[in-house]
Symmetry: C2
Subunit: 403 residues, 2 copies
């Protein structure tokens, strides 16, 4: 793995997943991957899942988990999600509005493939989720990035870009956003701006694709209503996942949209050929959810992740030199660190790596990498408490040494 | 489900999977789905898989199955496939040549997305696998179908089409084929033609995508060498799956190709974002394979499927009226039935459905549906022995009544 890791670094193919692999393999002893944006192993309820299986699939109906599934996904899981989200949010979901996906990745991939064609314009935040940008680039999309501030995307700038694109007769197909506890910044898009963006989407006719994967990991009482709720389900595709709150390895997520869109995805060739998202793991997840285990686990997770967030913020406040600033997320996995203008992230990355500290350079999160030349992403979701504190403290010392 | 079934029928959105769903739900009592192209439930080793889990994941390493995986897929499963196929075929696979996919569907989808762009020309057989055509249509590809005979695609016709496309400066990006026990015809592409097609692929610079999902279900001692073997791994993408020989619901398959191509897929945005193909089920499959269970199961399956094939052929021979002909597959799941010119498949389908017999109309397997107006696909993989015999006998009676 060591070789593959270095080859990847050399190719500058950054990926949370590849880093995890390398980390969990412990190739570079003592190194601290502050970039690792996935759940710590002790936050995955493996034993409960095992128990679900031991009890779950001995009844005959569970044989279906071994077979091709309904293209729309496990009906029990769809039913659970409809009830759960209607009860918690101001939604009127029916089973026609929900589709089970292979993680939120399955949703982003399918939306990209079926809602856009090579060369189409789309809108994203600057910075935006690196791996989603990677998917859009694979598809040859024309990505227009709009700057964000503490309240999320700057709507006036978005409006200006839309006018420009309308003038060029190339209005965007969709706006992709992680609206709550954004990856990489941890920033939440304000309710007011969400409402304004819904109006813009109706005015300019683009779809809002909200990758809503962190909102359950919140350290505050509530988060702004989703685009799906504000737009009453019209021309919005909302993606969710069990990867952050149950297990990434089971690859199960969901999509909410209008019945017509859902049907378009359900009747796609990919779903026809392979059947719905992994029937085997979807059945296990459905059992876990209907037992109440998922929501109990989410409640427990919030406290654990908040402890990690607090630990990271306290360590930053205690050790970071003046001139370095960072975001204070109300949930999710990430903190966005901004360096003084005099310090380039490449310089810091080299020095940090020599100190066995690895982080996600800001450059990876921008269509124009130079826009991230003085920023980086830290994650508090994966590391042990000691590594988290030691990693941030060491990073602070490295930064101080470079100022 | 009944409603959804009828809506789908009405939309003419044919799918093995949707039909299965409806069938296994038993919505239409007594109906016989001769189209169902997937394993009979009693041919899935559910108990063995359960045992693997009960024993398998109690060691610490198995915690990794719950986490994001390596983009290339489960390393143990890759290692097993390298050894298994090198030992059985004249191959020199290394771990750099193999990637784990979400069934062969994951491979077809990724190949389509990353090797072609909307409007690109590709080549397929006529008839060809319906759901693959569906994926190519979703992607907006320009599909050129070449007729097949008892030996597979007619190479002269393929050559003529390539010359025509070369003249139009739009050579195909790839040729998609199920070379062994083809879906829908059950026909195997001859060794000689495979060698000729490899030469054409070098001459005209297109990739061969071989969807090799049935070759292990053979009732003869051997099958022709794969394109991947004949081309020494150059410019060939070979797809395989555990869906036919283990469990479709676990969604695990593989891809063989040259190291550069594999790297391109491994480093795609989709893999970066979601990690490799389902780490949870891949781990279970890897354990099942390394225990020797998979190859033992395949040996057992061959006898079971051969019994079903013989039963289907005997029943056809006994009851089909003169003028109806059919293929005699040496493996796989399917028999291709050809009707007399005087009988249109639409007429037969209506009459058969009234007799509660459902089959896959030949029209779905052609780019130009009318080319399949006098053909249909039967599958012997799914039905009980009694239903298989009763279904074919009834179908024969319905046909006789229409002649």
């Amino acid at each position: 793995m060591s070789l593959r890791y270095h080859r990847r670094r050399h190719q500058n193919k950054m990926s949370d997943k590849s880093k995890t692999e390398y980390t969990s393999q412990g190739v570079v002893k003592g190194s601290i991957p502050l970039f690792a944006g996935h759940p710590s192993r002790d936050l995955i309820p493996a034993r409960e899942i095992q128990q679900i299986i031991d009890e779950g699939w001995r009844d005959a109906s569970s044989m279906r988990m071994f077979e091709y599934g309904d293209e729309q996904g496990d009906p029990d899981l769809i039913g659970f999600l409809v009830e759960r989200f209607n009860a918690r949010e101001n939604l009127n979901l029916t089973t026609d509005n929900v589709m089970i996906m292979s993680g939120s990745t399955g949703g982003v991939t399918m939306v990209t493939e079926l809602l856009s064609q090579q060369g189409d314009a789309i809108l994203v935040d600057a910075p935006s989720y690196r791996d989603a940008l990677h998917i859009f680039n694979d598809h040859g999309l024309d990505i227009h990035a709009i700057p964000i501030d503490g309240g999320g995307i700057i709507v006036d700038a978005m409006h200006d870009e839309l006018e420009k694109l309308r003038h060029e007769k190339r209005l965007p197909k969709f706006y992709y956003v992680v609206p709550t506890f954004q990856n990489p910044s941890g920033i939440t898009l304000s309710r007011e701006r969400r409402a304004e963006i819904v109006e813009l989407s109706q005015l300019y006719g683009f779809t809002i694709v909200e990758d809503d994967v962190y909102s359950d990991i919140r350290f505050v009482d509530s988060v702004p209503p989703s685009f799906y709720e504000l737009a009453k389900g019209q021309n919005v595709i909302r993606l969710g996942t069990f990867s952050k709150t149950l297990s990434p390895g089971m690859r199960i997520g969901w999509m909410f949209s209008d019945a017509k869109r859902i049907q378009r995805f359900v009747t796609s060739g990919e779903m026809r050929m392979g059947g719905g998202a992994n029937p085997f793991t979807a059945k296990i997840v459905a059992e876990f959810c209907s037992s109440g285990g998922w929501d109990r686990h989410i409640q427990w997770l919030r406290g654990r992740y908040q402890t990690r967030r607090d630990m990271a913020l306290n360590t930053l406040g205690k050790h970071m030199p003046d001139g370095v600033t960072w975001t204070h997320p109300d949930g999710g996995y990430f903190i966005w660190l901004m360096l003084p203008d005099g310090l380039h992230v490449d310089t810091l990355e080299q020095a940090a790596n020599e100190a066995n500290i690895y982080f996600a350079s800001g450059k990876g999160f921008y269509v124009n990498p130079d826009d991230g030349a003085h920023a980086l992403r830290l994650s508090y979701s994966f590391l042990s408490y000691d590594d988290l504190k030691r990693g941030i403290k060491t990073l602070a010392q490295v930064i101080a040494g470079l100022l």
